[in-house]
């Protein structure tokens, strides 16, 4: 048997893949599925360790590390959701407009070749970017979903509003989570002195520096529920705005959208919410 060459084995790892699930074209469905996979992977390992005679302290130590990894996975799942959601918006609106709404995306010449592989303009512009803070996410959605009229008569769009109070609390909590993700990803869970200062400001409570973050099982449940709320409310807000813009486009020029009924059906499937275009309402498939 020939010796194994580790660098070659690492390259071979790229072949260890599985196809995306059938519902991945809907950002909110893809989000739900991945959150479930991460959460239940932890539940499964926990159940396996609970039922045997393995020493609890050993199991807890390993599970704690897994929960740290799950925390990052859950937060990055929300990042991917926002990117996929923005991609859907671009594909729905951009072909019907000729303004500066996509100028928020800067694609360097050297990366253009890579973008030719993406199958839609929305994915090409969004999937390689970094969407890890509320301000950036808000600015990008504000530009993509700006009014189609000149001068604008619609309020600038906020996917993560700062008002009323419960929305501000959600915004601030999400900012805290982006920072927490940074600590786990870049310092393998260690809360550095500089992380602690930022986290203290964001959480408005003392944070121990030079300690390792150890989320509990219930922490992960609350985290996934919170992120689910953010995703579902953002999905509904964006769906409503996209429909509003498309209806304005259709009112201004009824020839631009070839088949409003089909467009509504496609969007209802992607947002998994009812969408009304040109008086025709489509509901998501069951």
């Amino acid at each position: 048997m020939p010796p194994i060459d580790p660098p070659e084995a690492i390259r071979n790892m790229l072949g260890n893949v599985r196809p995306l699930p059938p519902d991945h074209l809907s950002p909110i469905s893809h989000f739900h599925l991945t959150t479930t996979e991460i959460t239940l992977a932890l539940r499964y390992v926990q159940s396996k360790t609970d039922r045997s005679s393995s020493k609890p302290s050993v199991a807890n130590r390993h599970l704690s590390r897994l929960r740290q990894m799950a925390l990052v996975g859950l937060i990055e799942n929300l990042e991917r959701f926002f990117k996929e959601l923005a991609g859907v918006c671009i594909d729905a609106i951009a072909p019907l407009t000729a303004d500066d709404r996509l100028d928020t995306f800067r694609v360097s010449g050297s990366s253009i070749a890579g973008h030719y592989g993406a199958d839609t303009l929305g994915r090409a512009l969004c999937e390689s970017g970094i969407w890890l803070d509320c301000k950036t996410i808000n600015e990008r959605f504000r530009d993509i979903l700006q009014d189609v009229a000149t001068p604008a008569t619609l309020q600038p769009f906020q996917v993560l509003p700062l008002q009323p109070h419960h929305e501000k609390l959600r915004y601030d909590t999400l900012q805290l989570l982006w920072q927490l993700r940074h600590s786990v990803v870049h310092n393998v869970g260690v809360i550095t002195e500089s992380d602690a200062v930022k986290l203290r400001v964001l959480a408005r409570r003392p944070v121990l520096a030079r300690h390792t973050l150890e989320p509990s099982p219930i922490d992960i449940d609350y985290l996934s529920d919170f992120l689910g709320e953010v995703a579902e409310s953002s999905n509904a807000r964006v769906c409503s705005r996209v429909a509003e813009l498309l209806n304005r486009i259709n009112t201004n020029d009824p020839t631009l959208i070839d088949d409003p009924g089909k467009k509504a059906k496609d969007l209802a499937s992607q947002f998994r919410l009812p969408v009304t275009l040109a008086g025709s309402t489509a509901t998501p498939p069951p």
Binding site: S29, L33, T36, S52, P217, Y222, E229, S233, P286
Partner: protein
Amino acid sequence: MSIPEWSHYYEITANSLANWIEHQGANKWWIIDGDNYLSSRVMSPCPTAALVRVLRQANRNLLVQTHEPQANGQVIGPEKLDELAEPLDVSTFPIQPNHPRPKWADDRCLWLCWKDQNDEWMLAEDSQATAAFKNVKSSRAGNT
């Protein structure tokens, strides 16, 4: 592998399953492990209302695994599921003898598959999430 290939089974509508879940209590949380259809429509763990809503929209039939030898695909109603649901430690994660009994051991589960699909999946009560979200405001739990 589909349930009919290795087990006795009954058939039930998604609506009947939803009725049974609803009957277990509005405050209960559930896990769906292994089904892309439901998991892409509702996150797990999820509250009763969210799961019931998705099941009622499904308009499909399911097969439910059983040890009953007379079961051969007969259509059952929701009341029969009380007999078929088994604690997790019996059906899925047997506890080693003399080992302390974990809290989840009494959570009941069903093994199911969609009638038109092969892969089986598990529906289980989730006592951990039920306790965790008992007094929590959550839009997903419908109590905000």
